[in-house]
Symmetry: C2
Subunit: 134 residues, 2 copies
DNA sequence: AATCTAACTTGCAAATTGCAAGTTTCTTTT
DNA sequence: AAAAGAAACTTGCAATTTGCAAGTTAGATT
């Protein structure tokens, strides 16, 4: 269900980067093709991991949002982020990741708070390709 | 690197099921094809997540073993196991998973102990398809 | 009314996967 | 010592899946 190249990245971007729309994913610099993105969003929705709802103020825009089942992946993603920062070149700022590793519980409750309150502020500052492109 | 259908399952089987050989993976009932298995083992080795070494007593057998980098994925896998048991039909015994969720640190240190001492005993009792086949 | 924008679709080529059937090297049995 | 058996892969090929480029559609702006 999450065993493909993109699904977990989409969940991560919803969770730590504060992405909400199709456009943001497309432009994130990760290079996912639009047809694949559409397909993954549909499958993640079918799996109950996220929901899609149109914005009231702009009927074109669709807001994707994690479900409870989706936000419950936060511990998995956090451990994976920490692992990746330790062993791979992720582009994530090293000192920030060290802090996160020291305060897992605080990071998780902050992630959940932002989810509950629909606070779109990213947990991590922009990193990777999206920090070098506008 | 882990973003495909099989890689994380292989790491999980090394970590919690105590698998060591090609044959055990093939027979596990997960249904991975032998060419894909060979390919994933090669790629995981190239990524520094596991090592392959021939057994002294039987020159045919190759023992696969996690590296430090590989065993450091334990927190990720544990959280994913817990998540899966909560939301999906994984076949893992429910009460065992509840205990694991309550004692994450103990489970992790036991996993690392078994890795260090090369103790092949599985962390979890057989579950899923491999518990119904011999 | 024309233009723009967001979220997709579609068509098709290229890469990946899965299946069945080998092959090779080493071990055990007769 | 020869034959049979095992373990760990390869190989060939068909079926999916992926990625790219170019639409399309519905709603917002100028």
């Amino acid at each position: 269900m999450l065993g493909d190249r993109w699904s977990l990245l989409i969940v991560r971007d919803l969770m730590v980067r504060g992405y909400r729309t199709f456009r943001e994913f497309e432009r994130s610099g990760e290079g996912i093709a639009s047809n694949i993105l559409a397909d993954r969003l549909k499958k993640l929705e079918a799996a109950g991991i996220l929901t899609a709802e149109a914005e009231e103020t702009d009927g074109r825009k669709i807001n994707y949002r994690l479900t409870e089942k989706g936000i419950d992946l936060a511990p998995v993603l956090l451990e994976l982020l920490i692992w990746g920062a330790k062993y791979e070149e992720t582009g994530a700022p090293c000192d920030v990741m060290v802090q996160m590793a020291k305060n897992r519980e605080a990071v998780l409750s902050e992630a959940r708070r932002r989810w509950q309150e629909r606070d779109p502020a990213p947990l991590l500052p922009p990193f990777g390709k999206d920090s070098t492109e506008k």
